[in-house]
């Protein structure tokens, strides 16, 4: 699986960076939900993962269309608010036609009890109501996605279902029509659906949203205008059948209008001042909503209260709400959240990862732990340019190859995570359809590393450090200062490499330093990845369902030293085979070709002989705590925020 791009629905997505300069904000840009489990920082990634699904799904759907191989799924047209229950999960991989993005394993149990107050715990206060608009902080979506629905959403197993739309338009089911380089998308809104104030949800809202996003007074849109700017017109005013006319092919169209805002409410404010005037934290009851639970009060850093949105339950879900009220309770960190769960303060605890499992188990919460493999992977990015500058091409290649064998990932797993993860050699998420399972991970082999270095001419100096061409194998290892486990990992790496004569000088720096943009920081700031002032840096990438997101990480033209310096090829890898694979992935809509290209890329990535300067360490685990009395909670590692199906949640008496 590729890395979670910052942009889920843009045509030029990038990778989700776990690590961001601005503790929260850079993370927000990249979306990193799991990071928050370590310190309130990058909670938005969950949200971004959700968004990235859009890119994947739509891309695949279009591929199906172009390839003509996708067959209509029985669940491709779904009932809004009810994710389609498929009989079988679609196979991962295979030909385009075998990939069905709408069939899901998810099936909600019938609600067995109603009433009471549901309390959900989460670490970290959301920043604003405007998720995926002026903000992309994952907690914002955890908090407000249950209040404000979009046209479509993803299930926990990376499938699509309609929210305010009753269909998931694809080429296969006739919902998408491609005409040359243009396309039309037919959207059927849920018949009779109403906003919380009783106003009907119609195509007028869709039309308004598109114009609103494109308004010249819009400032600070985190979601950008990608996709909206490609819509030339929308038909269906006043009805529930809308047709979006795109002036060009826009693959991630299923990521648009998420959320969909009510026209009649947004019209109450000028676009420029909308954040100050609408959905204001102190006047949330004035807001107009579409989701199952709508907020009534927000005490920052404490809680948000919700009540059922009567209109949703009557006109969209057509059922009674399982809870009389919902509360989202905020904790300062995961430790206190675990303590709060132990003390029965909450029914469900969100946003944990492998680093909290030991604490949960020591608190005797074993039965409440729900964990799944996540797409986020911890890795060491080596700066290939700094290696070649020091040791030349051959020396750098040998060193990088040796490093792959020299890193003892299992020792890192045992020492740093307490054995809570599974070491990995491939950054691609194993559940992704383009994951190549045929690769065998290389084994840790110190002797082989030694022989490679010897063969390349590296010799130990009087201080015991390797030298080549008069340059020492002494490197700057960087991580955020507030991520102690990363500093510990780098120190452990230093210990592992010392017998070979390689030394890592570990440096912790402020989060803002690591990923500050080209013009945002002095060019010689140590540990800044954009300027390449590091030898090795540890952080985590969020894998996304979009293979194209790898393009911005590994294609040589996205070396940050080049162009507008916005590329994310921090490792400065310049490999013509990788470039060729990435070009195919980016330019093709044929799933088979993409899968093939991704297989080529993965072979390069996992074979130490190719000296790929990124070393995957392990995939993160997405963890939540849930009371045994809770039902229909479907944890997910990658698809959506953990409250994605909150309308189905219920609790035994």
């Amino acid at each position: 699986m590729p890395h979670a791009p910052v942009d889920s629905s843009t045509s030029h997505g990038q990778n989700g960076l776990f690590e961001t300069a601005h503790t929260t904000r850079l993370c927000r840009a990249v979306g990193a939900a799991e990071e928050d489990n370590h310190g309130n920082v990058c909670r938005e990634e969950n949200y971004m993962r959700k968004r990235f699904l859009s890119l994947f799904a739509t891309g695949a759907i279009l591929v199906g269309a172009c390839g003509g191989a996708a067959s209509p799924s029985p669940s491709s047209t779904t009932t809004a608010s009810t994710p389609p229950a498929s009989t079988e999960a679609s196979p991962s991989g295979g030909a385009s036609g075998e990939i069905d993005l709408t069939a899901t394993k998810y099936k909600a149990d019938e609600v067995g009890n109603k009433g009471g107050n549901l309390v959900i715990g989460i670490s970290g206060d959301p920043s604003s109501f405007w998720f995926n608009t002026y903000d992309t902080f994952a907690n914002d979506c955890e908090a407000f996605c249950p209040s404000m629905w979009g046209l479509w959403n993803n299930t926990m197993d990376l499938k699509y279902y309609g929210q305010l739309a009753s269909n998931v338009p694809t080429v296969a089911n006739g919902g998408v029509t491609v005409n040359g380089d243009k396309m039309d998308v037919a959207v059927d809104l849920v018949e009779g659906a109403k906003w919380s104030d009783g106003q009907p949800i119609t195509c007028d809202d869709v039309i308004f949203n598109q114009k609103w996003f494109m308004d010249k007074d819009q400032v600070g849109l985190q979601s950008g205008t990608s996709g909206y700017e490609d819509i030339t017109s929308i038909d269906g005013a006043g009805t529930s059948k809308c047709v979006l006319h795109f002036g060009k092919i826009y693959e991630p169209y299923l990521g648009l209008f998420s959320p969909l805002y009510p026209k009649h409410y947004l019209e109450k404010s000028s676009v420029a001042d909308v954040q100050k005037n609408l959905y204001v934290d102190t006047k949330l009851t004035d807001g107009v909503y579409s989701g199952p639970y709508m907020p009534t009060a927000w005490a920052h850093d404490a809680q948000i209260n919700y009540v059922p949105n009567t209109q949703f339950w009557q006109t969209i879900k057509k059922a009674d709400p399982p809870f009389e009220s919902v509360t989202l309770k905020f904790y300062a960190d995961t430790d206190t959240e675990i303590a709060g769960f132990s003390a029965n303060e909450i029914d469900v605890g969100l946003e944990f990862n492998q680093n909290q499992v030991a604490a949960m188990e020591s608190a005797n919460l074993g039965d409440a732990i729900d964990k799944v493999l996540g797409p986020t992977y911890e890795q060491h990015s080596w700066n290939y340019k700094s290696l070649t500058d020091k040791f030349g091409d051959a020396g750098a290649k040998a060193l990088m190859e040796a490093l792959h064998y020299a890193v003892d990932k299992e020792a890192i797993n045992q020492t740093i995570t307490g054995g809570a993860v599974t070491p990995s050699c491939n950054g691609i998420y194993p559940d992704a359809w383009f994951y190549d399972g045929s690769n065998t991970c290389y084994e840790h082999d110190q002797a082989k590393a030694q022989s490679i270095l010897d063969a390349a001419g590296f010799k130990k100096g009087s201080d015991g450090i390797l030298e080549l061409n008069g340059k020492k194998a002494e490197f700057l290892g960087c991580a955020r200062a507030d991520r102690q486990y990363r500093l510990d990992t780098l120190n452990l790496l230093n210990t592992q490499l010392q017998p070979l004569g390689i030394k890592i000088n570990v440096k912790g720096v402020p989060a803002a330093t690591v990923f500050a943009g080209w013009t945002e920081i002095a060019a010689d700031t140590p540990c800044n990845t954009t300027h390449g002032n590091f030898d090795v840096v540890e952080f985590a990438w969020v894998g996304t369902p979009d293979p194209g997101s790898n393009y911005f990480l590994y294609h040589s033209k996205y070396d940050p030293d080049k162009g507008d310096h916005a590329g994310q090829n921090y490792i400065r890898v310049h490999n013509s085979d990788v470039d060729a694979s990435m070009d195919v992935i980016k330019s093709s809509v044929d799933l088979e070709k993409i899968k093939e290209a991704m297989a080529t890329f993965q072979k390069i990535y996992v074979d130490p002989a190719n000296a790929f300067p990124e070393i995957a360490l392990y995939n993160w685990t997405t963890v939540m705590l849930k009371s045994a009395k809770m039902h229909n909670i479907a944890n997910n590692g990658s698809a959506s925020v953990q409250t994605w199906n909150i309308e189905d949640w219920w609790r035994e008496p």
């Binding site: 942009d7 904000r25 850079l26 903000d135 709060g340």
Partner: protein
């Protein structure tokens, strides 16, 4: 005295000006900024980031930004016109005299760059929780410090003095975050007798400060107060335990000094009861330096005892400050820091006034 207070209050203006200028400059010069939220986000174009910076005035030189923030400059003005309000008069004048309506001078702390909320309302929500936590902590801590300090001084070099000294140093040695977490683990997670965090019980009590809360307090004062006290116990214990040492040792030293003075010997010689000697004569004199200490501790507590509020999710100023730092939310940070600076200045003034009350020899006339 009144003339002195007025003089001191007037003196706070340049102090606050310099402090705010320094804080503003440091914040601006630090790496990062509100626009960093867009870093690594390919959805946002450089033009959109530029528009964002322009909207928030971040594209202006720091002096201009500060000038706008403080309210001397008009954000709508250009060139020398920045000093003129939209009504054509100097912008720094009060609005009703034709001045502007932006900036601190006009009571406008601006809007949060991350949420769009009014900074004043955001800070307003946080003041009472912090005041409650700080007030209770300060009360308990000063009383305990007085008690232990006096006892240690009276029984100096005895076993009780040693025990108090050990207690003080142990408390002083504990990092706040560690002690807080340990208390949570023991009393909330293991024993389950106290809440893990927060200020009220989410399941039974309405949001503190809301209309529902005050109605609830009116209807069930016992439940509301007991709930609040239960939530206060762990953070207050944390703050008191960690901070009592300084004041306790300070009082002990001042008391020992005082007990060795001639007037104490005279009091004893005159047959004054020992309790009277200690509390009426020695302690009153010993309090003088203590007043300074306590007054200087006030702003620290007002700023929210940041670590304690964060650990216990106490929704006060400290937690707001941390959130603002994480989000590079300059308007909120400036609001909190300048108010804290104001409290520091006022606390110093209070200390001076208390001097005069505690020690009749001091006069500001």
């Amino acid at each position: 005295m009144i003339r002195y207070i007025v003089r001191r209050l007037i003196g706070t203006i340049p102090t606050l000006f310099v402090v705010s200028l320094l804080i503003y400059s440091i914040l601006q010069l630090a790496p990062g900024g509100p626009e960093q939220r867009f870093e690594q986000n390919p959805k946002v174009t450089p033009a959109q980031i530029a528009a964002f910076k322009h909207r928030w005035g971040l594209d202006q030189p720091i002096p201009v930004q500060y000038c706008r923030w403080i309210g001397v400059c008009n954000p709508d003005g250009e060139g020398l016109g920045v000093f003129i309000s939209n009504k054509g008069l100097p912008n720094f004048l009060p609005g009703f005299l034709g001045g502007g309506d932006n900036g601190v001078l006009h009571g406008d702390l601006g809007f949060s760059s991350s949420t769009g909320s009014s900074v004043a309302s955001l800070i307003g929500q946080r003041v009472l929780p912090t005041a409650i936590l700080a007030g209770v902590s300060l009360l308990v801590w000063v009383l305990l410090a007085l008690l232990t300090g006096v006892i240690a001084a009276v029984r100096r070099y005895g076993k009780l003095d040693t025990a108090i000294t050990v207690f003080n140093y142990v408390g002083f040695s504990f990092p706040t975050f560690w002690l807080g977490l340990m208390l949570i683990v023991v009393f909330a997670a293991q024993l389950r007798i106290l809440p893990a965090s927060g200020m009220w019980d989410t399941r039974t009590v309405p949001i503190f400060g809301s209309a529902e809360y005050w109605a609830f307090l009116g209807k069930k004062p016992d439940v509301a107060i007991i709930d609040l006290v239960r939530h206060l116990i762990l953070p207050v214990v944390t703050l008191v335990f960690v901070n009592i040492a300084g004041d306790s040792r300070f009082i002990r030293a001042a008391m020992i000094d005082s007990l060795n003075q001639d007037f104490v010997r005279t009091a004893r010689a005159k047959g004054v009861a020992e309790r009277g000697v200690i509390f009426r004569h020695a302690l009153r004199n010993a309090l003088l330096p203590v007043v300074t200490n306590v007054a200087l501790e006030l702003p620290f507590l007002f700023a929210g005892a940041i670590a304690t509020e964060t650990i216990f999710s106490w929704p006060g100023m400290g937690l707001a400050y941390i959130s603002a730092v994480r989000q590079f939310d300059y308007p909120v940070l400036m609001g909190i820091l300048v108010i804290t600076a104001l409290v520091v200045v006022l606390a110093n003034l209070l200390a001076d006034i208390l001097y005069a009350i505690v020690d009749p020899r001091i006069s500001y006339g």
